[in-house]
């Protein structure tokens, strides 16, 4: 029974990997849309978010099915429930990538991000992308070291967000309120995406091993 449970949980993990790959691709494409004012890319991200939502529903159904048929207890039950949390975090990451794409689409054909902020957003997007890649790796190989790295990546994103605000709040900021508002909200989308990635790293170690990872702060 335990082996069967393990096999079924591995299937759920495979669905989570597919979700992680999708939300990674979504943020990459959304960032392209944002930095190159590419409307088609933005629309593709918005359209495809439904796929992530569909897998979220599949995970829910599959986990409920496993609980009923395998009747896991104690740590195993917690692991099954943890899969639901990971799925919810991934679903939200998809939404946040969609928000970035929507901001790009709303400003098209103008760029939503002025030249002064491009480097910061490139930096945030790169780290967020690495985090999404690490999530996939943690889900596939259960690497607790990688899960711990996500915390540091998140700190780097927070630093870049502070840098973003510093630029927008400087006395010589040449743009008005609209660009500052877009910048602040976009910064928050990347930062929240990273927060969910950190959650997933911790949850995944528990999902796969049954051993909790406690965050350092």
């Amino acid at each position: 029974m335990r082996e069967e449970f393990q096999a079924e949980l591995t299937e759920v993990t495979r669905l989570l990997v597919t979700m992680a790959e999708s939300v990674r691709a979504a943020l990459r494409k959304a960032t392209t849309a944002l930095l190159t004012a590419d409307l088609e890319a933005a629309q593709a991200v918005i359209r495809r978010d439904a796929d992530v939502d569909a897998i979220f529903q599949q995970v829910e159904a599959k986990v409920a099915d496993i609980i009923v048929r395998q009747a896991p207890v104690a740590v195993d039950l917690r692991r099954a429930i943890t899969a639901l949390h990971i799925s919810a975090d991934l679903e939200r990451m998809g939404d946040l990538a969609e928000h970035v794409a929507k901001t790009a689409a709303r400003r098209h054909p103008s760029p939503a991000v002025p030249a002064e902020l491009r480097q910061v957003f490139k930096g945030m997007a790169e780290i967020a992308d690495q985090m999404a890649e690490k999530i996939t790796d943690v889900l596939t190989h259960t690497d607790a070291g990688l899960a711990a790295e996500l915390e540091k990546d998140d700190d780097a994103i927070d630093d870049l967000e502070r840098r973003l605000f510093k630029i927008m709040l400087a006395d010589d900021w040449p743009y008005g309120a609209e660009t500052a508002i877009d910048g602040a909200l976009l910064g928050r989308f990347y930062e929240r995406y990273a927060d969910h990635a950190v959650n997933i790293g911790e949850h995944t170690i528990y999902l796969v091993t049954g051993e909790p990872v406690t965050s350092q702060d």
Copy 2:
């Protein structure tokens, strides 16, 4: 067995009601902190968010315990899992109230919100407060009509958020980027709080009746 399950689920619902009351009180106090630059109120909200997080953990433990001892299947199992979703939404509402409080604290002794935006934030806070009250009522009396009202309340919040942006983007907006950024982020905190309230309304009907409520959009 089914009756026992029902009784235990009612206990979980009681915990959720306590959480809903807490996050309602938190946003009320955070709004006071915001609109009157009351540092003590802000700090109280920040301090008490840990209480909501603690109940969140209790709900998780209790639901896992119910699943193991009662072995619910089909709709009943889904209902138990739905309680976890509601708890996650409530936990997030607590975080958002805390974000409002932190913004107020960061700007203290200056007000974070200029006179021009006070009415909009008062309006958003009032609707958000009514929504939090309705959640408590839906959890207590399973009123599907109230759950449906939450959708309309959410539309009203979205309207106010658009109004907020319109004010900040007007040509005669007398403040700089900093106030606009605070305004945009605060608007988003209230709007997300309302989104979670809508989710909870739908989930709660399912939790208590096993009948899904489909949202209208």
